[in-house]
């Protein structure tokens, strides 16, 4: 559906995109995630046609829309675009905003019906049509922007940090509603965000970007569980890194022998674990010393508690996050149990 080959872009000699490749299957959602300034917004703007690439090509539905030599104007790409702040036209009502891309006057019956239909699609009442953008909340504005972009039935929807302007509670619910809506409509979607949780929850495929390159592209679970490198591992969530020695698929480390998935070959490596894989339980002094540490700090966070545990063999303390019911106290000896497999990284 969307094909990107060797896409490159520099601004004033500064490389922003460094020969990117990406494929997005029809009807699926891909999230490009990266910290700010990594080039993800530029990627989106190149696909939308607001910028021209220095090299590489963009195909939408098998049609080449951008290359260094030739670029199809944004209004001829049938691409929907929702900006970070919604970018609603302040001089038009909600109805006129949604009708902007439709042919026919905003007053015609056909257009009015379509506007009402679209408002319903984004779960807003028909009475919103006569309101002005400034009378809407952030989440409502974002949904109107989406309805406006959907009005022209684009083959590809581009979302530029569409939920970042919303507050936390609203963000989660809007995100869920929008994801559902786009899936139902079968619109191919490319979303950029700096929020890994958003990317992981919404997308069929995620692409982690760093300094204008993708470090890894794949299904959310795969990328989260089996990151290729430490950057990807640490970017997608909290990560515990321990020095280890791999022998035949088993990593030997301070926490004992842990099976590892990625085959990096035998030898010294870094074992990456997710905090939810670790459970600390208080033990008596008599047990075997394997995987035992001392709690040197606890931080109560309400639902969870963060335990800082010193594994007592010359490695940095490990942070374990677990539910806060009956937590170990400071100086308690704990055994750290590892659930599932780890990942060995070079």
């Amino acid at each position: 559906m969307l094909g990107i080959r060797g896409l490159a872009k520099s601004f004033n000699g500064h490389v922003v995109l460094d020969h990117i490749d990406l494929d997005v299957a029809a009807g699926s959602t891909t999230a490009v995630v990266g910290s700010s300034g990594c080039g993800k917004t530029t990627l989106l703007r190149l696909v939308a046609g607001f910028e021209t690439p220095d090299a590489g090509t963009v195909f939408i539905s098998e049609r080449q829309v951008a290359s260094a030599e030739r670029s199809v104007a944004p209004h001829r790409r049938s691409v929907g675009y929702v900006a970070q702040d919604g970018a609603l036209f302040p001089h038009l009502t909600v109805g006129q905003n949604i009708a902007y891309g439709l042919s026919g006057g905003a007053r015609s019956r056909e257009v009015r019906n379509r506007v009402a239909e679209l408002l319903e699609t984004v779960a807003l009442e028909a009475s919103f049509a006569s309101r002005r953008p400034h009378q809407l909340s952030g989440g409502q504005q974002q949904r109107v922007a989406l309805a406006r972009a959907l009005a022209r039935e684009p083959v590809l929807m581009l979302l530029d940090e569409p939920f970042s302007a919303l507050d936390t509670g609203l963000r989660a619910s809007t995100r869920k509603a929008v994801a559902q809506l786009l899936t139902d409509a079968g619109v191919t979607t490319l979303l950029v965000t700096h929020d890994q949780e958003e990317a992981l929850s919404i997308a069929d495929q995620i692409a982690v970007m760093r300094d204008g390159r993708f470090t890894q592209v794949g299904a959310p679970q795969d990328v989260y569980r089996r990151p290729n490198d430490r950057f990807t591992a640490e970017f997608l969530g909290d990560c515990i890194s321990l020095p280890c020695t791999v022998t035949a698929g088993v990593a030997e480390c301070a926490l004992g022998r842990i099976p590892v998935q990625t085959s990096t070959g035998d030898g010294p490596a870094v074992l990456a674990l997710r905090p939810e894989q670790l459970v600390a339980t208080v033990i008596s002094d008599s047990e075997s010393p394997d995987g035992i540490g001392t709690v040197i700090g606890t931080e109560f966070l309400g639902h969870d508690v963060l335990l800082t545990i010193d594994p007592a063999n010359d490695i940095a303390p490990i942070i374990v996050r677990q539910h806060s019911l009956d937590p170990p106290s400071i100086d308690a000896k704990v055994r750290i149990k590892v659930i599932g497999n780890g990942v060995a990284l070079r």
């Binding site: 601004f11 703007r45 939308a48 046609g49 607001f50 910028e51 104007a73 944004p74 209004h75 001829r76 790409r77 049938s78 691409v79 929907g80 675009y81 900006a83 970070q84 702040d85 970018a87 036209f89 302040p90 001089h91 902007y100 891309g101 922007a145 406006r148 972009a149 009005a151 022209r152 581009l158």
Partner: protein, 526 residues
């Protein structure tokens, strides 16, 4: 003369997305290039004048007692008046914006009102009160009263949007009211004060009528007299050269004092309004001072005009002539305002949305021409017309062209600000919704810039309607605008007959003064 919006309302040019610099089309580029080239005419005239008379003659013309006298007068005028305006403008703005002075809602617009009275009308009023008024101090008195709002407006606007949390922090760190004002507030007003000071300086250098009326010779006055004696003379163009140099000195001084700081955009406003300072015992002196200022700046001119009208009775109201002058003034001003605003669009677009050579040329040209006195532009156009396009001399198109050159910077301030406030994201949204670039301009950009364009057009309209210097030099034979008739009556000391024209000029300028006031109080709402 009605002034351009205070420079604080200038949004930083960096508002545009520098990374998505759009390339202007050939039509836009050509229009802008021609306009930029045209702004070089006045400077070109000065340089050409110096070159054509030869070095020795130029030296003789510049180094002589008369020029020294003019230089002393002009410099003294600027050096005395600008600081006076700073003191009055800042004090008034602080009293009105930051204290619990009674009647602030009335004072606030009242001190913008002097802008509705052209300086030459103010001068006429004061001569009516004190007929012996003349010389430097007369010039200082009149221009201070006419121009202090140029300081008051930007300073008041800045005071309104300062974050009170900063002042509260200074308070918590042990500063008293005075300490907070001098150590925290005043430094934050620096840009507003510099911008206002530059504007006042430029006006002082350019003013003709107000000084001619009180027999105070500045460069502009002398150039004008020279022109009347020896039409197109080398002496005149040499004086113009010195005047242009003075303007450049002013620009450089302001740029130097400003350093790397840029005029900040008036943002979404302070999160909270500051707690007003309690004046307590000082209420009476403060109110007295403001009342006195209002009396001098507003009551005196209004009262004099009314007195002359009373003395003149019905005999000074030649309605046919007044109506004719009004019609001519409105026609000229409307034409110039429309043309200037339309031409300001491509220029503003290039300045805001692109960052090439052309954009920098526009910035530079605009910066210099906004400070060039009308007399230089007018003289340059007279000379160019006489030497190269004789039929244009004293024609309608030439004077309209002069107005466009003179007042383009004022229109630009507004159109640029308006354009910069249209987020690029909206245009992109429109493009992604299937609108072509030109359709996007019409449906989104133009629609959202309309209020700014209207403000620009009305500013230019009043600037043209109350313009005197260039009009006297360039107007086609038979032209009788309000300011020309006012000038010819008051030059003949027929103050009573001049009064109806003075009144009409003031009334004409009131709506635009209101626009200026609203622009400075209202934060750009979008």
């Amino acid at each position: 003369m009605i002034a351009p919006a205070p420079p604080v309302s200038l949004p930083a040019a960096s508002v545009s997305r520098s990374e998505s610099a759009a390339r202007p089309g050939p039509l836009v580029s050509a229009t802008v290039a021609i306009l930029v080239a045209a702004t070089a005419i006045p400077l070109g005239y000065v340089v050409w004048g110096a070159v054509s008379v030869g070095w020795n003659r130029a030296f003789e013309l510049v180094v002589r007692p008369r020029v020294g006298e003019l230089l002393v007068n002009t410099v003294a005028l600027v050096v005395v008046t600008v600081p006076l305006c700073v003191i009055i403008g800042v004090a008034v703005a602080w009293l009105v914006e930051r204290t619990d002075l009674p009647g602030r809602a009335v004072w606030r617009p009242l001190f913008v009102a002097p802008l509705a009275i052209p300086a030459f009308v103010n001068s006429y009023a004061w001569v009516g009160v004190i007929p012996s008024l003349h010389g430097l101090w007369a010039g200082v008195l009149i221009t201070t009263l006419s121009y202090f709002p140029f300081m008051y407006l930007p300073v008041a606007a800045t005071l309104r949007r300062l974050d009170p949390a900063v002042e509260e922090s200074a308070r918590a760190l042990g500063s008293d009211s005075a300490g907070v004002f001098f150590r925290v507030v005043l430094p934050q007003l620096r840009l507003a004060i510099l911008g206002g000071g530059l504007l006042i300086g430029v006006h002082l250098l350019a003013e003709y009528g107000a000084f001619a009326m009180v027999r105070f010779d500045t460069f502009t006055v002398a150039i004008f007299q020279q022109f009347q004696v020896t039409f197109d003379g080398a002496a005149g163009s040499m004086l113009a050269g010195v005047l242009v140099l003075l303007c450049l000195v002013l620009l450089l001084a302001e740029a130097g004092a400003r350093g790397k700081a840029r005029y900040a955009r008036i943002g979404a406003g302070a999160p909270r309004t500051a707690v007003p300072v309690h004046l307590r015992r000082n209420v009476i002196p403060a109110t007295t001072a403001l009342t006195l200022l209002a009396l001098l700046a507003i009551a005196v001119p209004v009262w004099t005009i009314m007195r002359w009208l009373w003395i003149g009775g019905t005999s000074v109201w030649h309605f046919g002539e007044i109506a004719n002058a009004l019609g001519q003034t409105i026609a000229l001003a409307a034409l110039a305002a429309a043309l200037t605003t339309v031409l300001a669009f491509p220029v503003a677009w290039v300045a805001v949305r692109s960052n090439g050579v052309l954009a920098r040329a526009v910035e530079g040209a605009n910066y210099v021409t906004s400070s060039l006195p009308g007399i230089v532009t007018a003289l340059a156009l007279v000379t160019v017309a006489i030497h190269f396009v004789r039929p244009l001399y004293q024609s309608g198109p030439l004077i309209v062209f002069a107005y466009v050159l003179l007042f383009m910077p004022r229109a630009l301030v507004n159109v640029r600000a308006g354009l910069a406030q249209v987020p690029v994201g909206l245009e992109e949204a429109s493009r992604s919704l299937g609108s072509s670039p030109s359709a996007t301009f019409l449906r989104v950009t133009l629609r959202l810039t309309a209020p700014a364009a209207a403000a620009a057009a009305s500013l230019v309209f009043v600037a043209v309607a109350t313009e005197l210097t260039a009009t006297l030099l360039l107007a086609p034979t038979g032209t009788r605008t309000l300011s020309m008739l006012f000038w010819s009556f008051s030059s003949e000391l027929d103050y009573a007959s001049a009064a109806p024209y003075a009144l009409t000029l003031v009334v004409l300028a009131i709506p635009v003064t209101l626009i200026l006031f609203r622009q400075s109080t209202k934060v750009a709402a979008l």
